[in-house]
């Protein structure tokens, strides 16, 4: 059993490695805009050497299959374990704020996404223990306070604390915990647990701790129902669709109105029925909070350890999420503004960090970047500049790599095993800029094949050190930030940001990532048509994320799963 699970995981990782093994010949390009046939043939020598400039075509596992994309075929429906964030969101929904938090089995990050890891992660024995401890503690806490436990159990005043009351609690609370009404067999099983406990409150507590450890609570069960016209697929509808929507858009379980809609005649089985709910859900403050997990993962905001300053890291993280919130929710503007936005959001701490005038009050305010700052959009924010640095060194290589991988969805292979990847040190008495050191580094032909794709754009950010702060000179020498993105020249980071925004791949890349988060796996080549269609719609709608969200959740890609998991 364990072997089989490992095989599934290693196949996915293996696919990424195979894709990475291409090397960097010719020009790096995105699968959506290049000839997939050539890009998909890993053994073919000289890819991209002739015509077309097709090279490393990676966007996910898509590089593995040799077939041209044709008809969309949905991916598998895996059980997705609640991420730690989702778990505590749901606990707050069920019990109110203040439940005692304890550590849970760690989430798994695959391909940059915890939402993908959730489909593959296995729970360790320690994790089982942690879920048990959490369930015990939450159950004890929920019932320890008289007012809280009365509100939770909810039997009418004066009612006897008896089996009927316990069962009415179970039916109501169980539906919220399992995101669906309990089956009769389940009610019987939980009531048996209640009976064993010996008294009313102990019995309620046993049921709560049981519900919170049930796989039907810890995992999202979205297996779909058979489709008569096509035995190879199953349709996700009803409460399963409610759960799929709620975790994607809100990062938590469905609320009662959503579950009610799921139990009505059309059972969220049509695009129109889903659309109506999505409009309500996206207007809710829960969406602004719930979708933060996606943007945080897709913009790679997790890793600012090099700052060694958790407060600053949290503020920089928040700055980016505020910019995203402004573009996506407040103004429903084009996603391209992520790169070209002339404004950002700062609090007092960040005002000091950026050398800007401090806002009054403790919160974040919208400010314009001064022209002299050289900054624009997300690529000018500390979060990007820090997350792509190593301790004490800014890295044009990592910055260039991030632009390609995180925003254009291209993959750069890792260095071949055994090569020295330490950054070259300047010789004493012969000061050089980082750019000059990297140019020397690229004299090595093996390194140059890949590094030219990263370093040539990463140098745009050389005015910003590893902490993302402005510096006038590098090693006492003037800084040259000019370069080119696949032949299109730029003079500075603002120029590069404009080029990235104008590339259609920057839109496609968001579509691809949102797709992965929504379906919980890295797409196969059979799913490329769905991504292509969503991408077309995204462009036609002026790159508005709100529009992408509706298009995706009403599409077959979200509503249909493979019948053979």
């Amino acid at each position: 059993m364990a072997m089989r699970r490992l095989t599934a995981a290693s196949m996915l990782l293996g696919a990424l490695v195979v894709a990475a093994g291409f090397g960097c010949r010719g020009q790096i390009s995105d699968p959506a805009t290049s000839s997939r046939g050539a890009g998909s043939a890993p053994s073919s020598p000289g890819i991209g050497a002739a015509g077309g400039g097709s090279g490393v075509a990676v966007g996910g596992a898509g590089g593995v299959g040799a077939a041209m994309p044709g008809v969309f075929k949905p991916g598998p429906a895996s059980l997705r374990r609640l991420t730690t964030t989702q778990y505590w969101n749901v606990i707050t929904d069920l019990f109110g704020a203040g439940a005692p938090q304890s550590p849970l089995d760690p989430d798994l990050n695959i391909g940059g996404f915890f939402s993908v890891g959730a489909s593959l992660v296995s729970t360790s024995p320690t994790g089982v223990d942690q879920y048990e401890t959490a369930a015990q503690q939450i159950g004890a806490w929920a019932l320890a306070d008289m007012a809280r436990r009365t509100a939770l159990v909810g039997c009418p005043a004066g009612a006897t604390l008896d089996q009927a009351c316990a069962q009415s609690f179970l039916t109501r609370f169980g539906e919220l915990a399992f995101r669906r009404p309990l089956a009769d067999t389940e009610v019987a099983r939980y009531m048996a647990l209640y009976q064993v406990a010996g008294d009313f409150w102990t019995g309620i507590q046993a049921m709560i701790t049981g519900l919170l450890q049930s796989p039907k609570f810890l995992y999202r069960v979205e297996l779909g129902v058979p489709v008569a016209s096509d035995p190879t697929t199953r349709q996700v509808r009803g409460t399963e669709m409610a759960s799929r929507l709620a975790f994607l858009l809100w990062g938590t379980a469905p609320d009662s109105p959503l579950l009610d809609a799921a139990l009505q005649t059309d059972q969220l089985g049509t695009p129109a029925a889903i659309s109506a709910q999505v409009t309500r859900m996206m207007a809710s403050p829960k969406a602004r909070i719930g979708m933060r997990a996606f943007f945080s993962e897709s913009l790679n905001l997790q890793d600012m350890a090099v700052l060694n300053d958790p407060t600053l890291a949290a503020d920089l993280h928040e700055e980016t999420l505020q910019l995203v919130d402004d573009i996506v929710f407040t103004r429903n503007a084009s996603w391209q503004e992520l790169f070209t936005s002339p404004t950002t959001f700062i609090n007092q701490n960040l005002a000091t960090y950026y050398g800007l005038a401090a806002p009054t009050g403790a919160g974040f305010v919208k400010v314009a970047w001064p022209a002299t700052s050289g900054r624009v959009g997300f690529l000018g924010q500390g979060a990007f500049l820090v997350a792509t640095s190593t301790p004490n060194h800014q890295s044009p290589t990592l910055r260039g790599k991030s632009v390609r991988e995180d925003f254009l969805c291209q993959n750069i292979p890792p260095p071949p095993p055994g090569v020295n990847i330490q950054f070259p040190m300047p010789q004493p008495g012969n000061p050089m800029t980082t750019r000059q050191l990297l140019e020397a580094h690229r004299m090595n032909a093996v390194c140059a094949t890949c590094h030219k794709f990263m370093d040539a754009i990463g140098v745009a950010f050389e005015h910003f050190d590893f902490q993302g702060k402005y510096r006038d000179k590098d090693n006492g020498l003037p800084i040259d930030t000019s370069g080119d993105l696949d032949g299109a020249p730029f003079a500075d980071p603002r120029g590069l940001a404009g080029l990235v925004a104008a590339r259609p791949e920057s839109g496609t890349c968001l579509v691809r990532k949102f797709y992965r988060a929504a379906v919980g796996h890295v797409e196969s080549v059979d799913e490329e048509p769905a991504i292509a269609a969503l991408d077309t719609g995204f462009g036609a709608a002026g790159y508005k994320v709100m529009s992408l969200v509706t298009d995706l959740v009403t599409s077959d890609a979200f509503r249909v799963v493979s019948a053979s998991p």
Binding site: M1, A2, R5, L6, A8, S10, L13, G14, L16, V17, S78, L79, S102, P103, D105, P106, L108, N109, S122, S124, P125, T126, G127, V128, Q136, Q137, A140, W141, L143, A144, R149, L161, Y190, L193, V196, A197, G198, D199, F200, W201, T202, Q205, A206, T209, G210, Q213, P215, K216, V221, L223, Q302, D303, A305, V306, P391, N392, P414, P417, Q422, P565
Partner: protein, 448 residues
Amino acid sequence: MKPFRLHRRTLLRGAGISLALPTLDAMIDGRGRWWMGQAWAATAPPVRAMAFHFPHGVVLKNFTPATTGKGYAMTPILTPLAAFQNDFNVLSGVDQVALRMGVGGGDHARGIPCFATASVGNPAGSGGPSFDQVLASELGAATKFRSLVAHNQPAGTITEGATTAHMNNISWSAAGKFVPAERDPQAFFNTIVGAVPAGGPPTTTLGTPVPLSAQKKSVLDHVNAEMTSLSAKVGAADKARLDDYTTGLRELERQLMAPAFVTAGCVQPAPVGDTTDFVTRAKVFLRLFATAFKCDLTRYASFALACGFDTHVYPDVTTITKHHHDITHSGTYGPDGGVTETNLSTYYMSLLAFLLGELKAAPEGGGTVLDNSVIYFGSEMAEGWHTFANMPIVLAGHAGGHLSTGQHLRFPAGTVMAKVFLTILKAAGSATTTFGFGGTDVLPGLLV
């Protein structure tokens, strides 16, 4: 085939009472020997094994003793261990060959999973189990916890081209499957001193609640039934994941039944207190590990001082405000020719000395708990500028008399690390015959 072994604990559990037991033929240890003429209860404490990691290697010229055998002169980095010279060995010439062969990520990302597994890693993580987990799986059922795994730092977010799993975990139960470490000293404390969560069920006037452990058992049985009912509806891969969960449930049930075995040195540890400071926190963890060994809560453990990139700054060791990892890359031996790196290694060594002191202060049988332990203290690389030959290794404790100690042993260059771990496994009573990459035989001169 695994030889049949009957644990004394098995007998106790079966009998339900504790009394002096006669020695039976089946009560032999992993090396096929048995304890002559006396009952185990009095004379054969269990052998504990531990993997203990410090970050970023050493400056070897300040670590390796000049002479081999016994009575060598202490080196600067070994100085904190001077009082224990007869209780440990220094091993030279061992090479982390498997690390060089691994795929996926940089040297730290391959080095951490390799540290206690000596396996050829891959993009999913280690290529096999760590030695502490081999013991936990094979022999761990005798105690409340099969193993205890802790880490002195929060999980880092740096991936070095691999995953955070690579960078943050030294214990692996199987290839690519890490054992999550406890990183919160207070939670680790709670695990050890009290298995029952705070609060407990509220009382009512109706009837008498059943004891918590019995209630816990009935809930676990119930969750098991829930697993089975969902398992029938899902595909093979998901079924395997649910089966893993069920395995964890069985572990929890076993813990409820396992009898407490308390030795003379077992006392409740002091409250945790403020653990913001690196050394204070490490000492809290180490004291709790010592408690767990002394109270026989577990016999197998792992503890890491830092993640794959140690981004900790050490103001009590150096005025340099760079992270440890950065110091190791400011020139070959740091910015000062190795002075700071050596001071850091010595600082870590003093934490090993602290643990050895705790274990040596606890009498057990005719000796001490240290006499019945084997502790591997090492790093993910030999020197901080990324070398893997001549790994710095301290092997402490006598493993119940199965390890000879007090020596500096120099092995031929290229001796694989896996042999160190196979030697530890044998000393701790495992029936394992091969381990990791190239661990086909034990190192000479260690096992008694």
